[in-house]
Amino acid sequence: MIAIIDYGLGNLRAFINLYERLNIQVKVARIPDDLKEASKIILPGVGAFDHAMMQLNRSGMRDELEKQVLLNKIPVVGICVGMQMLAKSSEEGKLPGLGWIDGIVKLFDASTIPYKTRLPHMGWNTINPVNGIPLLNGFNKESRFYFLHSFYFVCNSEQDVIATTEYGLVFASAVRKENVFGIQFHPEKSHFNGIQLLNNFSKF
């Protein structure tokens, strides 16, 4: 069963609706016990980095979550700010991140963005996926997803990057280290591509 972490941030209903449509069982996790039976975990996230970290720390679920992810190797995917939380730190805040993937989160350099509109990076953009990643099965350079963010993930190890996107520079739009995944775009708001990605996640 897929557990979606409810720590007061992110559009849980949108995820639940999509999984119900796919006939896949999901559970909203609000207390540590809810994470115990999970075979997969989704960490959604929106808003500011520090606020998100604070909410997760306050939720009481962090210890159980770390046990499931780091010890039991349950697959987890962080989405948007949920992805950024996987890093060690963020230029957006002062609190440390989860540090599950070796990297930091930086603000886009607006001067490199070739449009009158600079930040946030908002709208439908394409991804360039690495081959052979089950989470990104069925996608290619033409596949579009919805983005809404001003900060981006910088991996210390190139190996952890599983998809890139261009906005002023080429940045990591999806990352992975072992069982820990992060995606910067919003699958729950990306129509059929998003449904397929969430379906992929449920299958491996």
């Binding site: 849980l12 929106v46 808003g47 606020h51 509109t117 709208g123 439908w124 708001k189």
Partner: protein, 262 residues
């Protein structure tokens, strides 16, 4: 590569969807949830829903309706109408709305933009400017409370201020062209585009895909929103929800966007 956005804008009045002309004469065009379902199937880039009763009648936002719409939307969802406080904005955001549209209260209390942005992030704060062009002087002015209250504010100056205060996007709406389907006010759009760097979405006047193409050709990365174009068909304005299909959209982007990029 990032693409410009083509966005249906729906108005809610007495719990139904309506379309107005110059902010008046709301005509019933259907059920909101049903419309969202159709727009899901058509894979629209984004959706804006504005409750036109809320601020004008001083009502609380209809949280139940917003929650239902947000849950149904498989695309980014922007809600506007009746938001006056940071707490209301936060509550709506927690219902699963990506963007919060603020209009009347941004004029009455501009500092609230900063407060809301600190809570939910700049990228989620949208300021809607409803603009009227004075027929004698030709001057543009922001009108609030669903087109009923003159503010004397110049939209160019106001847009700059909103960007400075932390808005993540401006929706520029022409009251005079609302429902007219005569094309966007390109002069007004240019004036605002010249002074801000945050994303901008234009609304009011689109009557054809060519109108949308024209504004994309001029401005590249822009949101082109429309009401009538996506809910009416033909000169008798029969209600029919529509949106360009994949091929139509690709042709539009190719002709008006890709060929313009250097």
């Amino acid at each position: 590569m990032l693409y410009p956005r083509i966005i249906p804008c729906l108005l809610v009045h007495n719990k139904g969807l309506v379309k107005t002309v110059k902010f008046k004469d709301p005509k019933y065009v259907g059920d909101p949830i049903n419309a969202v379902k159709i727009f899901n199937e058509k894979e629209v880039d984004e959706l804006i829903v504005v409750d036109i009763d809320a601020s004008a009648q001083n009502n609380e936002p209809d949280y139940k309706m917003i929650e239902n719409l947000a849950a149904e939307c498989r695309m980014p969802f922007c809600y506007g109408g009746g938001i006056k406080t940071v707490e209301q904005a936060q509550r709506i955001f927690n219902l699963g709305v990506e963007k919060i549209a603020i209009s009347s209260v941004a004029v009455a209390n501009p500092a609230i933009i900063t407060d809301i942005a600190e809570r939910v992030g700049n990228q989620s704060v949208v300021v809607v400017m409803d603009v009227h062009k004075r027929s004698i002087t030709g001057k543009y002015e922001i009108i609030t409370y669903n087109g009923t209250k003159n503010t004397g504010l110049n939209p160019v100056e106001f847009a700059k201020e909103m960007e400075k205060r932390g808005a993540g996007e401006i929706v520029l709406n022409s009251i005079d062209l609302d429902g007219s389907m005569k094309g966007y006010d390109l002069n007004l759009i240019q004036k605002i585009r010249d002074v801000i760097h945050i994303p901008m979405t234009v609304l009011g006047g689109a009557g054809s895909l060519e109108d949308i193409g024209t504004v994309i050709k001029q401005h590249g990365m822009i949101g082109a929103a429309a009401g009538s174009l996506f809910v009416f068909k033909g000169k008798y304005r029969a209600v029919l929800i529509s949106y360009p299909n994949k091929i139509e959209k690709e042709i539009l982007i190719k002709n008006y966007f890709l060929n313009q990029q250097k």
